[in-house]
Amino acid sequence: MKRIIPYFFILPLLLLIFLFYIIPAISTVYISATDMGRSLKGNFVGIKNFTRIFSVEDPVIGRVLLNTLVYLSGALIITIIGGLILAIATTTLTNRWGSFFRIIWFLPRATPPVVWAFLWIWAFDPSRYGLLNMIFNQIGLQGRSWLTLYPMAIVILANGILGIPYTMTILSAALSNIPLEILEAAKIDGASGWKTAVKIKIPLVWWPLSFLIIWYTLSFLTSFQYILMITGGGPFYASTPLALYTYNKAFQNMELGYGSALALVLIALSVVIILAFRKLLGVKREA
């Protein structure tokens, strides 16, 4: 009986994983081989949906893949570099001030997603009611159509900044665990703040840093809700990454078969990028 009890507790979770992960995953593979549409009924079409993607029959695919790489790189750089700088900065301050700035920087993460998106929409609204245009008008400059001119930059900023708080928190914790004697020894040896950061602090937090890079790579590859709310992916696909394109195809055009094929390509792309990062970052399980 004692042996069975742990399984009894694990069972509900396994059931949930089976229901909400395994079954949808298998369904996605199946649906990708059909022409399923709004009626949720589909005919088997084999690999037609994949050939549509890889033969670039869909004229937008190339653009969307390029957007995905630009968006991923931009947002990842902001999140990781921003979070690292803030973590190093706040851990060099006294505990009280360090905590104070960390709380301030954590606010974006605590903001509900819709509110966060609306703040960005408001800031870059093309009309005179947009925050930036209000400032421009006050100083005698003409307002701009920000969301039309710089859509990709805006979605990169909105998503990248949102990643900073979490990165900062994890890295702050890791940095706080660096033995003080190592830092003091560096100081005695005359290492500058920059050298201490580059040669000692970053190598010592390499494992959590690598984890964050991989975590956010996956997150940016698959998330699109802020882009959907801020630019809608436009204008003319200028800010549409693969995840948003997949969503639009599946749920706006109701091309569930093609959408599922795109989702599988997205998963494959994520796996390739993650494996590449593991190799590049030297992430290995310690013996």
């Binding site: 009626s39 949720l40 609204d125 093309p126 039309t148 204008p235 003319f236 706006q252 055009n253």
Partner: protein, 450 residues
């Protein structure tokens, strides 16, 4: 722990038993449950639902025992349609669904809605059938079968500012002549000239504004240039490159001349309406006649908040689109349809038939300022008393059927993307045409390029 589990189990079983008892009680009374969903912005779905309820009450007073469950939705059409697809496949489907004509072919092809021919063409319904305005039945017909009862006509039109035109030195009779569809002066070229004059005189910020997002306007403007969408011989969709070229060139010209904002597609709805209601835009070309009511119900104007009927009468006018082959009023029909899985099609039809009576449809038209679908509605005093609806009827003379095809939604999205590309300067006219051809070939089976 054991106690908690026991209490939970008792609670669960008790609720199950009570709910089954309730169902049995209901069946004992012999009542029939009919579930209906309605959709639309603002008060529109409420009224579509209320008419069904009123009809249900009337049928019950006549001896039936209907238990009506009507849900109205103010969601956008996308989520509403996704909810329906899921409900249809999970057996929690409604019996009655209110929908726009453009989705009817898709639902009909998938067998999700019922053909109504045996009901609407029956002898006892003949007088009703013949009472509908020309084109109404065609709007809800797919491959020769009728799939809905038309309940209102979304009449797409151009709104213009009379006060701005007066400031340009035009008298009221000049304005009436300029916007009279039958006068030779009502042309697209003349509208552009007026917009330029008003802009150069500093009377408006923009000559034209249109809607944001993918919507009916994009079809209206293609129709204005004589574009076709569906090949009548094959039933396949058409990419009419000749009309599209003119349409794209027209929008590009408006942006280049500073008459239309290049970022129009990213404007907020509130700002779009505020600009028109406050007279900062001369022509609002992305709307339909129902907005006349909306402007009185929502405080879009910074100067006046909600505007009055008198204000609109004095300062605003409506007109059809000045098409290259004559005036065009694109009309889209909204209809009550029956879901194919309904267990009570006869009763459900009785209900939508009753809810489509001239009196109830008149109530819908008067409240929403959308166009009527039946001739007898126009004879009712309440309808005739509405001055604005008389104007709506005048522009409905130029009604042109809205396109219908299962791939219309995909076409609409690609057309919108191409137009955004044109307006934001990311595409030339030629590039936009190339995009439309390539995307249509990729997304729409059997598409014909003309």
């Amino acid at each position: 722990m054991r106690k908690i589990v026991t209490v939970f189990l008792i609670f669960f079983l008790a609720s199950f038993v009570l709910s089954s008892t309730g169902q049995k009680e209901e069946l004992k009374k012999g009542s029939v449950s009919i579930k209906a969903w309605t959709i639309g912005p603002g008060p529109v779905p409420v009224l579509r639902a209320r008419n069904l309820k009123t009809a249900g009450e009337e049928l019950n007073a006549g001896g039936l025992n209907l238990k009506l469950d009507v849900t109205f939705s103010t969601q956008k059409f996308g989520p509403y349609r996704t909810s329906f697809s899921l409900a249809y496949n999970s057996n929690s489907f409604p019996d009655i669904l209110s929908e726009d004509q453009d989705i009817i072919p898709e639902y009909a092809e998938a067998g999700m809605i019922l053909p109504l021919d045996k009901y609407v063409k029956a002898g006892n319904w003949k007088s009703n059938f013949e009472d509908f305005l020309p084109g109404m039945w065609n709007a809800v017909t797919w491959k020769g079968k009728i799939y809905g009862i038309p309940i209102e006509a979304v009449v797409n039109c151009i709104y213009y500012r009379k006060d701005v035109l007066r400031k340009l030195g035009m008298s009221d009779s000049d304005i009436a002549k300029a916007f009279s569809p039958d006068s030779g002066e009502f042309t697209l070229t003349n509208l552009v000239k007026l917009a330029k004059k008003a802009k150069d005189a500093g009377l408006v910020e923009w000559g034209f504004t249109h809607r944001k997002g993918a919507g009916d306007y994009w079809f209206n403007s293609v129709m204005m240039f004589g574009g076709k969408f569906v090949d009548s011989a094959t039933g396949n969709m058409i990419v009419d490159t000749k009309a599209l070229k003119k349409d794209f060139a027209f929008h590009k010209m408006l942006v280049d001349e500073g008459l239309l904002p290049k970022d129009m597609a990213s404007w907020d709805w509130k700002v779009i309406h505020e600009y028109f209601v406050d007279g900062k835009t001369l022509f609002w070309i992305g709307g339909h006649t129902g907005q006349w009511k909306e402007y009185q119900q929502k405080a879009y104007s910074i100067k006046y908040g909600k505007v009055t009927e008198e204000y609109l009468e004095k300062n605003v006018g409506i007109a059809p689109f000045p098409g290259i082959d004559g005036p065009v009023t694109p009309v889209k029909v909204h209809a009550y349809t029956l879901v194919s899985k309904t267990k009570n099609p006869d009763l459900a039809f009785k209900l939508i038939s009753k809810a489509s009576s001239p009196e109830l449809l008149a109530r819908l038209s008067i409240t929403t300022f959308r166009g009527p679908t039946r001739k007898s509605i126009m004879k009712l005093k309440d309808f005739k008393d509405q001055n604005y609806l008389t104007k709506v009827m005048q522009i409905m003379k130029y009604a042109k059927a809205f396109p219908k095809h299962p791939s219309l939604g995909k076409y609409k999205n690609m057309l919108f993307e191409a137009m955004v590309g044109i307006e934001t300067g990311k595409l030339t006219v030629e590039q936009a045409i190339k995009f439309m051809i390539a995307k249509a070939k990729s997304d729409i089976p059997g598409v014909i390029i003309r």
